[in-house]
Structures are given as C-alpha cells and as structure tokens.
C-alpha cells in the first residue's frame, strides 16, 4: 500500500490523499496531483501529431481537466491504481478536444443544397474561365452571401481521424527519455499549472448568513478554535440558548437548500 509509484514517486497512500483532496476541491492537492501526473499527461499529448489544428498546450490543459475529472470519479476503495484509471479520462478529454476542433461538420439539408450549388458554380466557372472562382464570384452565381460561401467551403476542410494510435497506453511503457527533465517542457508545465481551473467547490456555508456561519464554525471548530455555545453567544452578545436556536435554524436552512422540491 505504501510502496512508491515508480513513475510519479508518490506512495499509494499519498496518491489516494491527493485524489481525495482534489475531489474535495482542495487547491493544494489539485496542484500537487496535476504536477505529479503532468509528465504522463504530456506523454499522451505527444501521441497526437502536430498540424492537426490543436495546440500542444490545449491538449495538456484538456488532459489536466480529464485528470481532475478522474479524481471526481475514482473510487479509492477499489484496487485499481489511479493512473490507469485516470489515463482513460485524459485520453478521452484529448480525443474529444481534437474531435471538436477537427470534426466534419454535420450540415442541415438546406446547407447541403447550398454547398452543392457552390460546387456546381465552381465547376462551371472553372470550365468557362480556366481558373478558380473567387468568393465574390461564387456569391454572385449562387445568390448566397460571401460569408455564407466561405462558411460552407470551410466545412469541406479535411478531418483527421481521432483514432490516432497512441504510443503510451499507460506509464509502464514510458521510456527514460520521457521522464528526463526538459527545460522547455518544464516551462510549459508551469504555464499549465498556473491555469488549472479548479472546480468551484460547493461550500454549504455560503448558504448561511454571517451570524449563522460564525455560530456553526465556532461551535464545531471549523477553521477556528472550538467554542461552547455560551462562548459563541457571548461573542455575539447573545445567550447560549439564542446561539443554539441560530444553529438549529442554520442546519435547517442547509437541509432545505439541498432538499428543494421538483416543482416550485
């Protein structure tokens, strides 16, 4: 259980703590988890060829999002190590980004007919003039606006298969070269780490007013020394019983916030 992972250097226990912390929205745990797995994420990103219209930094950022989503779902009670599980979501995130940015466009029936008009006009112009028609000429021939012509022609750009073979299915196939410190990659990693978008953590305490928050947090020692309700009340100029009533009301408010009805 406590043996170190040979690729991240994290012990299984530390890895679990980071995953659970990241799932809870702890920014320190999120950063440490991402930092530990960035080389592995970068390895997955390298399996995508350049020139497909997706920047490496975009792939890394999407891979990080996939890793953090994996932390949301990863069940520490199962015996699966984290990376083989997370790698699925990292790859999926990158594949979906590539698919989104390079996918063939699904056209409406009307757009399909318009594109057919443009192709016919191009063909006719080429035959008549021996040269490709300009956007303006196609617009005049078809009655479509120049913007419509350009948008429809853009849908004909070649798409790349998202089923590019991946070099590394899991960390076990990484080479030493993958793990060597690369100054350029390190700078890139810092940029990615600085831009981690940590899921906004739902904090129940946000549902409470200031006084309710003080009572709950002070009574139960959340982020401050624990106080009795008498001490909390004294701080607020209230009796212990009044502080208790505020606490009961606050707990009821939190319950109601989560138990809203389906119909207003």
């Amino acid at each position: 259980m406590s043996s170190a992972d040979s690729h991240t250097g994290l012990s299984r226990q530390h890895e679990q703590e980071l995953v659970v912390g990241a799932e809870a929205g702890d920014p320190v745990a999120c950063r440490e988890l991402v930092e530990a797995f960035l080389p592995a994420i970068a390895s997955v990103a390298r399996s995508y060829p350049s020139g497909i219209g997706v920047e490496r930094k975009e792939l890394l950022q999407e891979g990080v999002a996939g890793l953090l989503f994996a932390a949301q779902r990863y069940d520490t009670t199962l015996n699966t190590p984290f990376w083989p599980y997370a790698a699925f979501w990292v790859r999926k995130a990158m594949q979906e980004l590539v698919a989104e940015l390079t996918r063939p466009v699904v056209l409406s029936d009307r757009a399909v007919r318009s594109l057919a008009q443009i192709r016919a006009a191009r063909r006719d112009h080429l035959q008549a003039h021996g040269a490709e028609a300009t956007t303006a000429e196609l617009s005049r021939s078809t009655g479509l606006t120049p913007t419509q012509v350009e948008s429809l022609l853009a849908t004909e750009r070649p798409s790349r298969s998202v089923e590019e073979p991946l070099i590394h299915e899991d960390l076990s196939s990484l080479t030493l070269g993958d793990m060597l410190v690369d100054p350029a990659a390190e700078r890139e990693y810092e940029l990615v780490l600085d831009e981690i978008e940590i899921r906004a953590v739902r904090d129940l305490a946000d549902q409470l007013d200031d006084r309710e928050r003080v009572v709950i947090k002070a009574h139960y020692g959340l982020g401050r020394p624990t106080q009795t309700l008498s001490e909390v009340g004294a701080t607020l100029g209230l009796t212990a019983e009044r502080a208790r009533q505020i606490e009961v009301g606050a707990l009821g408010k939190l319950r109601a916030a989560l138990a809203y009805p389906a119909f207003p």
Binding site: R73, R103, S108, L204, T226, L254, L258, P264
Partner: protein, 304 residues
C-alpha cells in the same frame, strides 16, 4: 412515439455511429418541440456540437447539458437532472431528455452506473417526461450493453423498438449488483453523547483531528445529522458511532437500536410528497452511504 404526459417513459437507444446518434437525437428532440414539450440533450462537447449543428435554428429551443461534468456520483447526477427538470417544467408541461451516460473504464463503475440507470425508473417516475438514454454499441463493453436491457423497459436499436423481457425491478437489480460492505477494523468507536448536538461536537473533533477541510467537515456534520435524525425516528436512537480513515477517506458509521430497512433505492429519489428527504440530503454530501445489518446493529456507513 411521444410522452403521454402521465409519468416517466424510460427508453434506451443503442447506436452504431455518430451519424446514427445525431439523426435519432434530432428526430427525438424535434418531435418533442413540435408537441410543445421541453427538450434537453446531454452529451460531451463533440456530441452536443454535432446535435446543435444538425438542429439548426431549432437549437435555440433546446437545453444542452455537458455530461462531462455531471456524471461523477449517481446521487449528484440525480440532483443535477433534478435541477434541469425543475427549470424545464417552469416552461413546459412535459419534457423529453436524451442523454449519454458516461460509464468509464472500471468494471466496478459499470455496475454503479447500471444501478444508476435502474434507479432512473424510480427517481423521476412521477414526472411527465421521456428519458432516452443513449449507448454507443461500438464503444461500450458487453456487460454495459447487457445492462441496457435490464434497466430500460424498451430499447431501440436500428429502427426496431423492442420491449425488454429482461427488465428487472430496480430494487432487485441493486440488491444483486451491490456488494456487501467490507468490515473496517481501522475505525474507532467514539462516545456519541445524549443528543444530536453532542454527537456533532464529538464528530467535529474527529474531523478536525483528521485534517478534513472546513467545507467537507460541514458536509459530514449535516449528513450525519440527517442519519442520526432518522435513527432517532425509526431506529430507537443512535447506539454508537465509529470514525476514522479508510482507503484515503474519512468514514463515519452510525449504529442504531432498530432493525433497519432493506431498500437500496433509499435516498436516491428526489424530494416530493411522500418521500423522505434526509437520506437524499446525506447522499448529496457524501461519497457513498452503505447500509448493513452486522451483529452490533443496523449500520449506516458514510464515506466522505
């Protein structure tokens, strides 16, 4: 086919290609829009983009849900869709939703999300809605695809609609696939005092000692309060409490004096008349809640 407006219809679409999915989804949504129904589509970003483009101007009348963030834990997914339905029913008398479940790579997860699909038959059964769950036949493991027939009363594949003769009662399916909780000897017993306030105080000391964050500590305090309240009403009161860390998570067990219950759907049904809210609240705030009947008494185990 359309929702008859009297309660939930739950179907599955098994598709072979992205084009197949888009064509079916657009047809399903347009039929609903033409009937004045609310229309919702859930998928990852590429799927949503494809449906949006195919819908053309009709896309402005459809609600798009990025399921990439929604499918974390079943209870939270139900809560997310509960909110979606609440919004949609402000605008329409009936709603149809077509959504792609994110099963993940781990067999343990497949069981969990199959259980989620079974629970769908109960969770929103009271709503005039048609929920169409979509499955990629080429990307999902056989076990998941077999589960489609066990969790959906009707399935469409190709152009053929079939009633499922393998459909299983949700509670029976959940009992069958849910493993019994393993013993956790690493947990320690703590004194629970004589009322809910002293119970929370004792729990809070343990949460702080274990370094649980403020936000998650409050989540656990509220969740345990709900379980303890149920124990007081239905279980003769709290008999004992055990806490500690297991598998990296803070765990709290509440043992009561009663005989407990055997309803695996408990806490997954969104609040409505006749349905209790305490377990629903507790499930939103925790990673998992397990119930068991060990020798020491009916036990609710909350994983944070």
């Amino acid at each position: 086919m359309s929702s008859d407006g009297t309660g939930m219809r739950h179907s599955a679409l098994v598709y072979e290609s992205q084009n197949d999915y888009v064509a079916r989804a657009v047809s399903f949504l347009r039929e609903g829009l033409d009937a004045g129904e609310g229309a919702v589509v859930g998928n990852t970003r590429p799927g949503l983009a494809a449906v949006r483009e195919a819908l053309g101007p009709d896309a402005s009348r459809v609600t798009f849900i990025d399921v990439g963030a929604a499918y974390t834990r079943p209870a939270r997914t139900f809560a997310a869709y509960h909110k979606v339905y609440a919004d949609e029913f402000k605008r329409a008398a009936s709603v149809r939703v077509i959504s792609d479940v994110q099963f993940g790579p781990e067999p343990g997860e497949w069981e969990m999300w199959t259980g989620y699909e079974a629970l769908m038959n109960r969770a929103f059964a009271h709503l005039p809605t048609w929920a169409m769950c979509t499955y990629n036949a080429n990307a999902l493991p056989d076990r998941v695809l077999e589960g489609v027939w066990q969790t959906h009363p009707e399935v469409v594949a190709g152009n053929v609609w079939r009633a499922s003769d393998q459909f299983e009662d949700p509670a029976d399916l959940l009992r069958r696939i849910t493993p019994a909780p393993e013993p956790l000897p690493e947990l320690r017993s703590i004194s629970v005092g004589h009322d809910s306030e002293t119970l929370r105080e004792a729990l809070a000391r343990e949460l702080v000692a274990e370094g649980v964050t403020e936000a998650k500590s409050l989540d656990m305090l509220v969740a345990v309060s709900e379980i303890a309240a149920n124990a007081a009403v239905h279980g003769g009161g709290v008999k004992g409490m055990r806490v500690g860390r297991a598998r990296g998570r803070f765990v709290c067990e509440i043992i009561d004096w009663g005989s407990g219950f055997d309803d695996p759907t408990a806490g997954y049904l969104p609040p409505r008349d006749g349905v209790g809210r305490g377990l629903w609240v507790a499930r939103q705030l925790t990673w998992r809640i397990e119930f068991s009947h060990p020798p020491q008494g009916f036990t609710a185990r909350l994983w944070l």
